[in-house]
Amino acid sequence: MNVELKNIHKHFGNVHANKGINLSIPSGSIQGILGENGAGKSTLMKILSGFIQADPGGEIILDGKPVVIHSPADAIHVGIGMLHQDPLDFPPMRALDNFLLGQSGGLFPNRNAVARDFRRLAEQFDFSLDPDSYVDSLTVGERQQLEIIRLLWLGARVLILDEPTTGISASQKSKLFVTLKKLAGQGMTVIFVSHKLEDVEHLCDKVAVLRAGELVGEAKPPYTTSKLVEMMFGKVITLGARQPAQGGNAVLSLENVSLEDVRLKIRNADLEVRAGEVIGLAGMEGSGQGLFIRACAGLVRPVGGRIILNGRDMTGKSYHAFKRAGVNFLPAARLEEGLIPGLSLTDHFILAEEPDGLFIDRAIGQRLAEERIKSFNIRGAPHTPVESLSGGNQQRAELALLQDPLSLVLLEHPTRGLDIESVIYIWGKLKERCRSSTAIIFISSDLEEILQYSDRVLVFFSGKVSRPLDAGKTSVDQLGQLIGGKNWADMGEAYD
């Protein structure tokens, strides 16, 4: 099926997520959609799959005919099926029920016939899926396979895959690629959304690159990696004057640390962080950096190895013990995990201080709040509830809540969604901390931010942790390839 997108716009409030996108995808091809987080890829694909509607004026044309897609059900009706990044399936139910759910038909589905179709499709693509197994016992890769055969069964002729290679094993990935090529060979249109260069280069017949909501260009094989990287991140940035770290004492050491969660395993990671140093953690969302930073905070207990803080073994201690020892963690979800909606700025500053007696002295709290609001340049009054602050001001408030003195700050996406002014201000404040020998570990999906502000960088790729790279000697291009899983062997000392 030929897919044509004409003049697609989408606004979310003040955010212009898609800016007049025109794209034409011929039948039987694999189209790559490349771009960093927040470039507008997902929005575009959600529009095509009926999850959201584009602003009026745009058009979706299938095989020459304009179509109107109101809902995902409409989309599958006209032959568009989407595989979401977080599988939208039903974990406690059986694979066959997941497969069947949503198919229209009589009240009593013929399970035997459906199971036959299931097995036939699974066999056709060499998937070893058991229709009777429960979905929560399947791997992410198998859940994808289930979703692919389901969409095909429902008659999808355009298949959209949103970041499908996140969280699946290498062998599942190669099987997925074989399948997608086979489908394209059968005349299917495959749209492959990713920010992994390696995957896109390996698979796609054509690549469209999105940046900040705009389609900045298209490319065909043979691909030049550096050119793709340049399109993704804008012109190659010449780094400003970086401030190298002073050599301090070791604040935090991870020795042979192993971590596990439902999706990922990190094996035997080592790291030594010195006072005043900034470590950037790079990697695609869900590659293990979140687990890693939580382990550094004591929020996740390692299944092996030791965590040493200022010379003391802290393995297995709680976050509160880490906090008393001078570690603070600022999570990415500011209003979900960082601040308390419904409480004012003053309340927050009082909470962050050690209680002084039984009763709160509101006057002192008020003074404290005024002082911090001034020194952190927060646009808000002491009585302002935190949820009515802007994102940048919430982040400033979080910084203002940090203990003093502090040996280590852990930050998750400290500047995500913030305006430039706030970004510069926040890093200024953080660097101030570093000069008083606080160490910083932060996660960011902005590679320029990582290279600009870190001394050393750790790259994460599906649970693998790179050796620390010297940020001064690494380029955005190199980093972009590493987070996409490329060139790990060339790093020489990289380990599993």
């Binding site: 963690f329 308390i340 419904g342 409480l343 962050a352 709160i360």
Partner: protein, 345 residues
């Protein structure tokens, strides 16, 4: 800000009028005059000193329970188990009384010990729901409900079993305690100024606890955002447990009052549903301690005033419960409407 307040007030007023309207319709449907019914209820609660004293008798446990619930609601917990905590307070009080039945201690000390025992009993029962919630992941609503039934069964077991009256056990409860075990009552009335004092002290303590102390602020933080409160360094699960203990103690005090000042023995329905009614009061005042006293007094007056209805108008006294429930329901719906319109505009 001021417009918000005004809007709020308008919606609340509308809810109040609507609920009286609905109850009037219900009354008309059974051929009763709404005006007469409301007038009789008013007269039945404020018409004489004796009647007003009865209102205060109901007000005491209701206020104590509401005070306790304000603490658990602040911590984001739906302590439906409060009913059982009242019962266990009453049981523990009875147990202390029975223990000292033949002792030579001064009665005042025994009363104090019995009330203290009631508070401890309620707190322990509350901590059970808390432990289930904090360490077992059992929702406090279901854990609490289950414990309520167990508490009621325990009362009946005690009344018909180990603590039964000599001769034949009956639903009228255990043997009444001697007069000196009663909290001193106002002459010719059933209200004890001591009980009233304890209830008022309870709500004042809770008010200051929630408004002015570090404890209260941290409790609110835990209730509004458990995760963020933990990251800010607040020992979250401990605070959840504290709130169950405090609420349990206040509910236990309510149970103790029922035994020490009202019934002077353990009866099967010792809690009189004040636990559940307290939940309604707490919801109606939108969890603000300042309003607890007038609203609890209003609800107690409705309860007592409605006692006159069967005698004067051949209407069932449960009208008070209908009015209370409809009022809370409309206030909930009104605030939902208000939020919906706010979202849309």
């Amino acid at each position: 800000m001021i417009r918000d307040r005004l809007g709020n007030l308008l919606y609340q007023l509308a809810a109040l009028l609507l609920s009286f309207g609905v109850v009037s319709l219900i009354l008309i449907s059974v051929d009763a005059s709404p005006w007469e019914a409301f007038r009789n209820m008013f007269a039945g609660s404020f018409g004489s000193l004796r009647k007003f004293a009865e209102v205060l008798v109901a007000f005491v446990p209701l206020l104590l329970v509401t005070a306790g619930l304000l603490v658990t609601f602040s911590a984001g917990l739906w302590n439906i188990g409060v009913e059982g905590q009242v019962v266990l307070g009453a049981i523990a009080t009875t147990w202390v009384y029975r223990f000292f039945l033949d002792s030579n201690l001064p009665p005042a000390l025994i009363i104090a010990l019995a009330i203290l025992g009631g508070m401890i009993g309620g707190a322990l029962w509350g901590s059970l729901a808390g432990l289930l919630k904090v360490f077992g992941g059992v929702n406090e609503i279901f854990g609490g409900l289950g414990l309520n039934f167990v508490a009621t069964a325990l009362t009946i077991y005690l009344i018909f079993g180990p603590w039964k009256r000599p001769g034949v056990a009956s639903m009228s409860g255990t043997v009444p305690f001697p007069d000196e075990f009663s909290l001193p009552l106002v002459e010719n009335l059933r209200i004890s100024p001591w009980a009233l004092g304890i209830a008022l002290v309870g709500i004042v303590i809770v008010y200051f606890l929630l408004q002015g102390t570090y404890f209260g602020l941290r409790l609110k933080a835990v209730g509004k955002n458990f995760r963020a409160a933990y990251l800010l360094g607040i020992p979250t699960w401990q605070y959840s447990m504290y709130s169950f203990l405090i609420c349990g103690a206040l509910a236990g005090a309510a149970g103790a009052m029922q035994v020490a000042a009202v019934y002077h023995r353990l009866i099967p329905s010792i809690s009189s549903g004040y636990g559940y009614l307290g939940l309604l009061v707490a919801m109606l005042i939108n969890y603000q301690a300042l309003w607890a006293v007038p609203v609890a007094l209003f609800f107690a007056a409705l309860n007592i005033g409605s006692i006159q209805l069967p005698i004067l108008m051949k209407l069932d006294s449960s009208l008070s419960g209908v009015l209370q429930g409809v009022l809370v329901l409309f206030v909930l719906l009104a605030s939902g409407m208000q939020q919906k319109f706010a979202r849309r505009s």
